[in-house]
Structures are given as structure tokens and as C-alpha cells.
């Protein structure tokens, strides 16, 4: 049952990713696209955790952790760029 649940959940998240990608491509404004990328980072975390659950291994944990850390930095940098142009001043 667990593997079915994992597969089902993965399927849902893949659909979610596709929807995010759609938003990323249609925009319409740049901040919209940044939200889309940020959401994709979050969804990827879930996807990688699900992958680990499915294969019964913890070796993907670090990838998920890194996406969480770095996704935030990336989003912050993009927003700072829109706000100030120069991200390190």
C-alpha cells in the first residue's frame, strides 16, 4: 500500500511541477516567474523525499536539504535583483 501511495503522491507532485512550469512560461510578469521557480524548488524537495521513500534509502536526504537551503538563497537573490538591481551592495 505504501508504494502505491508513494507513486500516487509522486504523480500528483509531477503534475504540480508541470503546472508550475506552465506558470513560469506564461508569466506574465517577472515576479510571477520567480514564484513559479520558488514553488518548483519546494515541489522538488517533496519529490526527492518520495524517491527516497520509494527506494527505501536515506541517501537523497542531503539533496532535499540542499534544495531547501539554496532555493531560498536563489529566490532572495532574484527578488533583490528586482528591488535594487545590484544584489550585493
Amino acid at each position: 500500500m505504501l508504494s502505491y501511495a508513494t507513486l500516487f503522491a509522486s504523480g500528483l507532485i509531477c503534475i504540480a511541477l508541470a503546472l508550475n512550469a506552465w506558470r513560469l512560461i506564461v508569466g506574465p510578469t517577472t515576479p510571477d516567474r520567480i514564484i513559479a521557480v520558488d514553488t518548483m524548488y519546494i515541489n522538488s524537495i517533496a519529490l526527492i523525499i518520495l524517491l527516497g521513500l520509494y527506494q527505501g534509502t536515506t541517501s537523497y536526504y542531503e539533496s532535499a536539504l540542499l534544495i531547501a537551503l539554496l532555493g531560498f538563497v536563489s529566490t532572495a537573490a532574484f527578488c533583490k535583483y528586482l528591488l535594487r538591481g545590484d544584489i550585493i551592495e
Binding site: A5, P31, I35, Y61
Partner: protein, 121 residues
């Protein structure tokens, strides 16, 4: 692994995934920038939270010892998601994004875009 545990983990996984999907549907479907901003920020904390708890529970039993590593990700997301949303909202203000026609108190947005308090002239 006991059956109940399997049910709990499965339930949490599916629930988390559904919440995340809802968040993404919201991002795709909602009419203007600020509404779209609101949808995934909720989902990303709650949705990922559920999946991480599921993983924590599963591996705690699978490895036979308490596994709290995923808690680190949860904690991290709980701290950063609001900040990311805050920064995105600021970016939206900076870009003076279009609001939906029937937004309540739409007249306030003009002042917000000029970085003014509502009671300021």
C-alpha cells in the same frame, strides 16, 4: 512494519501531495499576482511538512531508531518560506503588478505602490 503505521504514512504522503498540488493549481489558476503568491506559500509549508513527517516516521521504524533528520528541512522551510514570500511581495509592489478588478479597497494599492501609509497624503 505494522499496518497502522503504513496507513498513517500513506495518508500523510497523499495528503501532503494533494495540498501541494492544490498550491500549484492555485499558482496556475488564480487571477492576479498577490493571490498567486498566497497559494503556494501555504502549500509549501503544510504540504512539504506532511511529506517530511511521513518520511520521518517511516525511516524511524525502518532503521529501528529515532530519525529526526527531516525535521531540519521542515524547520528550515518554516523559517525561510515567510521571508521568501515577503521578498516576493516586495518585488510585486516594486513592479506595481496589476490587481484583480474586484479587489477590496483597491484604492489603497495606489498608495502602497508609492510606499505610503494608507492615511498619508
Amino acid at each position: 512494519m505494522t499496518n497502522i503505521l503504513e496507513i498513517v504514512v500513506s495518508f500523510l504522503l497523499v495528503l501532503g501531495a494533494i495540498i501541494m498540488l492544490i498550491g500549484s493549481i492555485g499558482l496556475a489558476k488564480l487571477p492576479d499576482y498577490f493571490t498567486r503568491l498566497h497559494a503556494p506559500t501555504k502549500a509549501s509549508t503544510l504540504g512539504v511538512g506532511c511529506i517530511l513527517i511521513a518520511s520521518m516516521v517511516y525511516f524511524s521504524f525502518d532503521l529501528g531508531r529515532l530519525n529526526l533528520k527531516e525535521f531540519l528541512i521542515t524547520m528550515f522551510l518554516f523559517i525561510t518560506a515567510p521571508i521568501a514570500a515577503h521578498m516576493l511581495a516586495k518585488a510585486g509592489l516594486q513592479y506595481k503588478v496589476k490587481l484583480k478588478e474586484d479587489t477590496y479597497n483597491k484604492d489603497l494599492s495606489a498608495k502602497a505602490y508609492l510606499h505610503k501609509a494608507p492615511d498619508e497624503d
